[in-house]
């Protein structure tokens, strides 16, 4: 139809119709022929429009034809009820109400005022230099990790750091040791890069290096949490540390040290990072601010052997170019001006108090048979359950009662092993921990 006729037919002025026709011509769906009007483009007419399937036909598209990659299928799992809503014991919650929010907001406001046009550019793929310098200073003073800013790559939390390390160090099919039980995020990462997962059991001294060597002597990497084994809480013993480093040296393998929460050690002296013993530059060290500051910040880092820096930067660029500048600038100021160290000191005291309250309450409510593990550091502990208990079933029940306990079996690759519950105490006040422990004991007795 002519633009005039169509405008009259649908009751609008002629201008929008003219514009619509121009658009159809611009996109190639129509072509204008001078003097005769606008027509459906010749190139399109003969071809049937795709889509518009009958309702039945659409439903008939086979599922297989909408498939995603196999590595992805392995990653999909239903949401875990114990992580869904906030509740006592939820892992990953910190004492957010004790965070120095006013100080943080002041620094954020200051960094906001200082923003200028050049700050808007794509930034350094390794991360904001002032933050990397602040991290290097902190690690040297507090964790025995000696490094330069030029060895540090800022990441979006420790999860991205683990992923980059896995992608960088492992070819598909390459074997990697993980701790059993261990952090499920490492399993996800290894599945994502197609590595072969070799679970190595842990005991009171941490990873059983002998068993790792027996199962997969030539694994390309070992992913470990030496300072505070997740979730059982052991500190990797000196003997095992040296044994692990020696294995890596002899085999040309890599050690990925995830030092996720060792800032909070409640009993005994702080333990230096495995990295500090590594004289062969075989250790990739990972730290994070998500646990000790707050999860929504999403900032962690890798400390790399200098010769691995170009490879890690290449992987980082391939997945997301660079981290956003602004949050890094605020965090750098927070560390540099001493607020971070001060916050750690305050939180260490607070978490120790919460830990004491929880351990005491568990023993009081459950009785002397309550077996608590891994309470000497961090923001969580493990309560072992009687053999034969289905800890997943129990955790689902507990979630219904507002208790966000994580089943220990969730951290295992296979069946077997002592059942238990991982109880976070970072985000729950001492009084609430006591009543939650009472509630938990009741559920355990009635279950």
């Amino acid at each position: 139809p002519s633009t005039r006729a169509l405008a009259a037919e649908i009751g609008v002025s002629r201008l929008p119709v003219v514009l619509a026709f121009e658009l159809l011509v611009a996109e190639g769906f129509c072509e204008g022929r001078t003097g005769s009007g606008t027509f459906v483009a010749a190139a399109i007419r003969p071809r049937a429009r795709p889509g518009h399937p009958a309702a039945g036909e659409r439903g008939a598209v086979s599922k297989g034809r909408r498939s995603v990659s196999r590595s992805t299928t392995r990653l999909i799992r239903p949401p875990a009820p114990w992580l869904l809503q906030p509740g006592a014991f939820r892992l990953g919650d910190a004492a957010f109400d004790h965070f120095p929010l006013t100080t943080w907001k002041g620094l954020a406001a200051q960094q906001t005022r200082r923003l200028t046009a050049p700050d808007l550019r794509y930034a350094d793929s390794m991360g904001h230099l002032p933050l990397r310098e602040a991290i290097a200073g902190y690690l040297g003073a507090m964790r025995g990790v000696r490094c330069e800013a030029s060895q540090i790559v800022v990441t979006s939390g420790s999860q991205q750091a683990l992923w980059i390390a896995a992608r960088c160090l492992l070819d598909p099919g390459a074997a990697a040791w993980i701790e059993e039980p261990g952090y499920w995020g490492v399993r996800d990462v290894l599945r994502s890069v197609g590595a072969e997962i070799v679970p190595v059991p842990v005991d009171e001294e941490g990873l059983q290096v002998d068993r790792g060597i027996a199962r997969s002597p030539s694994a390309r990497a070992a992913f470990v949490t030496p300072s505070h084994q997740f979730p059982l809480g052991a500190t990797l013993s000196a003997t095992r540390r040296l044994q692990l480093l020696e294995w890596a040296r002899r085999r040309g393998s890599w050690i990925v040290e995830d030092d996720y929460d060792s800032e909070y050690r409640h009993d005994g002296q702080p333990v230096a990072a495995l990295h500090s013993l590594d004289q062969e530059e075989r250790v990739v060290y990972i730290g994070t601010f998500s646990k000790v500051l707050f999860g929504a910040l999403r900032l962690g880092y890798l400390v790399l052997p200098p010769d691995l820096v170009p490879a890690f930067v290449a992987v980082r660029r391939s997945i997301d170019l660079t981290p956003a500048t602004f949050p890094q600038a605020v965090l750098a100021a927070f560390v540099r001006e001493g607020h971070f160290a001060r916050h750690l000191r305050r939180m260490r005291a607070l978490y120790r108090e919460r830990r004491d309250a929880l351990v005491e309450a568990l023993h009081a409510e459950i009785g002397p048979e309550a077996r608590v593990r891994g309470e000497s550091a961090g923001m969580h502990l493990v309560l072992e359950l009687p053999r034969g208990t289905n800890d997943r079933q129990f955790a689902v029940l507990a979630a219904d009662h507002g208790l966000s306990t994580m089943p220990l079996s969730f951290c295992r690759t296979g069946p077997g092993g002592t059942p238990g519950l991982i109880l976070g105490y970072g985000g729950t006040e001492a009084d609430s921990l006591r009543s939650a422990a009472r509630h938990l004991a009741e559920l355990l007795k009635s279950g």
Copy 2:
């Protein structure tokens, strides 16, 4: 030695020595025996300390034993001189000095003031809901992309969106079409996930779908830039759009539409996204704020067919859990309050002016034989060079003269094809573009 003797020997008080001994015991390097003192732990003594290699031995560690994964090796490349320092024509630079920084700072300050403790928690893996809602509103109104917030996953720029899509849709070895020439970041992503790269040539109508079908009919995915082909600038024609959708429907393949800068169309009507024609939910749509706002923001997004959401969320969680909340909250306010649409309008006018200045100057300086392509949209155009010119060599020379031109061959997977230079004009003022064009013409004549 006893703590007292050692303290005297090194001339410090006894307390630090006692603490040091306790630490050595805590870490398992020493053991205390009541009444007789502190000794090196039995478990450690017999084993030779690793490390401490003689200088020669250390250098002798073979390179192969410090190897990274093959997929990583393929990603490492020397830094490109044309991206190293700021200079006229640099790709990815926007008109940062025209960004409404005061407005942005005001919103950032407002969001900072509103921060409360619950905002510190780990956030939604799909992204901040208010931002996803703002994106859905914007896409429906401006890009013809109809979607709900529940189909949107916020990413760290379009690079992460491309990576997640590739990992989610492609198994190692699966074939994927890419545009030739095309965006190098897609090649990096496909190498990273181990996919088979199938370069499909582009012409004035964009991707030559016929050639793609001839080369790899059962490719699992096609990565395309239909609105403004990178780098040559074609708009994918209507015929090709329908042909591509029909291929995907018939083969059960996926189309990843990277709509990186189509907000800026200078000539003719804006072109709707390919996504708007997709009735089979075969298109994964990617947008980004890095080009239209600023690179340091690092925020992009995926628009997904609803049935693919769980798979994409699983991959996103495996690589970095969630995006940081704060920058998303500022951006959501910026979009919601109309600043984004206003900024786009102002920038469209500005970039058109810069584009006009550059095209005019290139013709004036080089002469009528200057062949300019892809100038009808975006923030860059392509200047073709005479056949036989080595565009990389020329770009290195130009970089020495402060001109950051990118060689067209950098966007190709193999040799051949017309040589050319990609000239960004987003971050360079009209006057500077004119003098840079003169400089470029001189170099071309003398080269």
